[in-house]
Symmetry: C2
Subunit: 255 residues, 2 copies
């Protein structure tokens, strides 16, 4: 908005408001306000924040105009730094826990875009701009070459040193158990307490499926001391654990 | 990290991993990765995202190094755009509702940094870098000059046109009822179903206090069709409403 328009808007708004209240809360230091203009893809920044804060839900694909922005974000420093802060908080939390030490303290990990990264796939498919193609995506999964998310691998190793056991709960189907297990091991996740995949009879949302699996774990005597995923559906619902952590993922949404 | 170090890291990591899995998920297009460097205050970006996604909790003040970053953010376009996206989603949600039309459909608004903005105060006090000073802050509150958050005022007006009544629930104490009511009215919030302030006997967290007040509303027959606040404590707990919306606030944290 030009300065003149801003001033007119300010004048118009002060007619309406009283006493001494200006509508324009961002005019305090307007000379600083322009800093945002140096960042490319401004509205994509807001879109991504909306996704990460669970204000924007039930979306199907990344907005076309944000392909370049999301690509730069995912392949650049910021995604790594953002993930690093999440894992720093997770490790700090884990270190603060008083553990029972009876082998029942577990940490729930999601797999895709949490433990493993499908970025090599999404980099070839518009970073979420293209509609989901299950054939193509499953072909990639069956290659078993997804690299680890380095920050999550760091968390995994730290938790093991603390005696907290990992449990993977994934929306991947049972049919992908072998390739998933091999991929996890090759990526550095060498052992786990459980690897839970989605049975073919399971229907409904990821929130319901994952809540149910966590409930079964707790009914078996496990204590979920932490829970990390890239989707809100990983950490919403019931039996979410002592504390939850949300990694960034602006590429897709699973309800 | 320099390119040489990256390459060494890559070489080191490929020794460990197999078969054909590289640890460095961001080296796919390293030439794009540098885009982040154009943004000032990178680690502050991660810190702010961590706060907004509820990964960073129980913090007391904004990191000293992020004062300028938070100031630029709050006074610049991005805070307004980010808030605008939240309100766009809120209005879209409100318009999608099938309302009973019996006057019992309500929307819960938090006040500070949601309905009203204390940015004129925080701009003079380091944007959250300074420790909270109740005397100084209450002096500002008693001036009754907090401007509206323009996006929230827009939502308020839209909800009124749809027949959804506003209920304000605030952590401000009962002693501030008169100044708060006058400030709201002068800022453009001309009417409301209820204005709920914190009684002097209420103890515990904001989550517990606000949950309890929402519960009482529902027990009185109201339906909370939406709920908006700038703190996670506004939208966590029980009786949170049909859908919740989180406005940005990197200046302070209330548990």
């Amino acid at each position: 908005m030009g300065v003149l328009v801003q001033l007119l808007f300010l004048l118009a708004s002060t007619v309406e408001l009283s006493p001494g209240i200006s509508l324009e809360i961002h005019l305090l230091r307007p000379q600083l306000g322009s800093s945002g203009h140096h960042v490319p893809g401004l509205s994509c920044l807001s879109w991504r924040l909306g996704v990460e804060t669970h204000n924007i839900i039930e979306w199907s694909t990344v907005p076309q105009a944000c392909e370049s922005y999301v690509g730069h974000y995912m392949l650049g420093d910021q995604y790594r730094k953002d993930s690093g802060v999440v894992v720093y908080e997770a490790i700090t939390h884990a270190q603060s826990l008083k553990l029972a030490g009876d082998g029942k303290d577990i940490w729930v990990f999601d797999i895709d875009e949490t433990s493993l990264s499908n970025l090599p796939y999404f980099a070839k498919h518009g970073f979420g701009v293209e509609a989901y193609n299950s054939t193509q995506f499953n072909n990639w999964i069956y290659e078993g070459k997804a690299p680890p998310l380095p920050e999550s691998l760091k968390l995994y190793k730290k938790l093991q040193s603390l005696g907290i056991k990992p449990v993977f709960i994934t929306g991947r189907p049972e049919a992908q158990r072998n390739v998933t297990a091999a991929n996890l091991q090759n990526a550095g996740y060498h052992t786990w307490e459980k690897l839970i995949l989605k049975g073919s009879s399971v229907t409904g949302t990821a929130v319901a499926y994952k809540s149910n699996e966590r409930k079964k774990l707790e009914q078996s005597g496990y204590r979920i001391v932490g829970n990390i995923g890239d989707q809100w559906s990983d950490i919403l619902g019931t039996n979410v654990g002592n504390r939850t952590f949300k990694l960034p993922d602006p590429m897709y949404y699973i309800s």
